[in-house]
């Protein structure tokens, strides 16, 4: 599987899947570790500052489980991005909608399921886009403004990223029938601690 974006959400998804026993993981991120990442990006520590995220993440994940196979790619996600592996499923842990729409296009073209997650402060959402979905990310989020830098805390990332990781595990264990968020948007509210399901068309 592919984790696109190894920041707040991607760190949680990757670590949860490695600890659960996944055999192979591809990590994609263009960035290097900054001090402002350390409040929520659980794969990184102070000694990783300035290092490529895919390299620091790989080191940490291999320290947890040396037998896992990890492929790291330092790149932005654009519509002509080529996977280094054939993914069975992709986790969208990106931090902006332009990149998400490009990722959605790649997954549609290659007929791969996409587990989307997003977080801003105490609010977040998760939904899974299947290859034949009518409502895709560019439909669902059409017209959204590109807010500069959404704030997030580690605890919030653990909830939203944790749900994404569980949904990936559902897929690995039971295929598309095991998914709980296909054609459904989970609206996650960590102010009042609620998760509500919105049925998508």
């Amino acid at each position: 599987m592919v984790v696109a974006g190894v920041g707040g959400l991607g760190s949680v998804v990757a670590e949860a899947l490695v600890r659960a026993g996944i055999g192979k993981l591809c990590l994609v991120d263009y960035d290097v570790v900054s001090v402002s990442d350390l409040n929520r990006q659980i794969l990184y520590s102070h000694e990783d500052l300035g290092i490529k995220k895919v390299d620091a993440a790989t080191k940490r994940l291999l320290a947890i489980r040396p037998d896992v196979e990890i492929v790291g790619v330092q790149s932005r996600i654009t519509s002509d991005f080529k996977w280094p592996v054939e993914p069975s499923i992709v986790a969208d842990c990106l931090d902006n909608f332009d990149s998400r729409f490009a990722l959605d296009e790649i997954c549609r073209r290659q007929e791969v399921a996409l587990v989307h997650g997003g977080i801003d402060g105490l609010y977040g959402q998760v939904c899974t886009i299947l290859p034949d979905a009518v409502t895709r990310l560019p439909n669902l989020f059409k017209g959204v403004g590109q807010k500069s830098t959404p704030a997030a805390l580690g605890a919030g990332c653990m909830v939203v990223g944790g749900i994404q990781a569980l949904e990936v595990m559902n897929f690995i264990l039971k295929g598309t029938k095991g998914l709980s968020t296909s054609s459904t948007l989970l609206a996650i509210d960590l102010h009042e601690f609620s998760i509500e399901r919105l049925q998508l068309a």
């Binding site: 959400l9 931090d95 909608f97 997003g118 977080i119 959402q125 017209g143 609206a187 102010h191 068309a201």
Partner: protein, 95 residues
């Protein structure tokens, strides 16, 4: 006719409401008019600006009508009928 409107995120926090059921005249009402009614609720006043001026450069909220983004329909001119559900939530961009 009755239309259920659910709000999420800061709209819920500001208003103290998860949603409301509007009773409106006519078999169908444009989404713009529904937003104006919802904006009369304390804490949801900012929706009046969306109703009057549209989304501008970027939508602070996604508005779904029966699970479809209104911008994939007829925008604020989308007609809503009896029993349809309107959901207004802030998209979270971070990752």
């Amino acid at each position: 006719m009755k239309v259920d409107v659910r709000v999420f995120g800061p709209l819920r926090l500001n208003s103290g409401k998860k949603g409301l059921t509007l009773e409106l005249a006519g078999p169908r009402v444009r989404l713009r008019e529904i937003l104006k009614e919802v904006a009369k609720v304390k804490g949801l006043e900012e929706l009046e600006g969306v109703a009057k001026r549209g989304f501008g450069d970027g939508a602070p909220f996604i508005i779904l009508v029966d699970g479809r983004n209104c911008l994939d329909l007829q925008g604020l001119d989308t007609e809503v009928g009896e029993g349809q559900k309107v959901s207004i939530f802030p998209p979270s961009a971070g990752g």
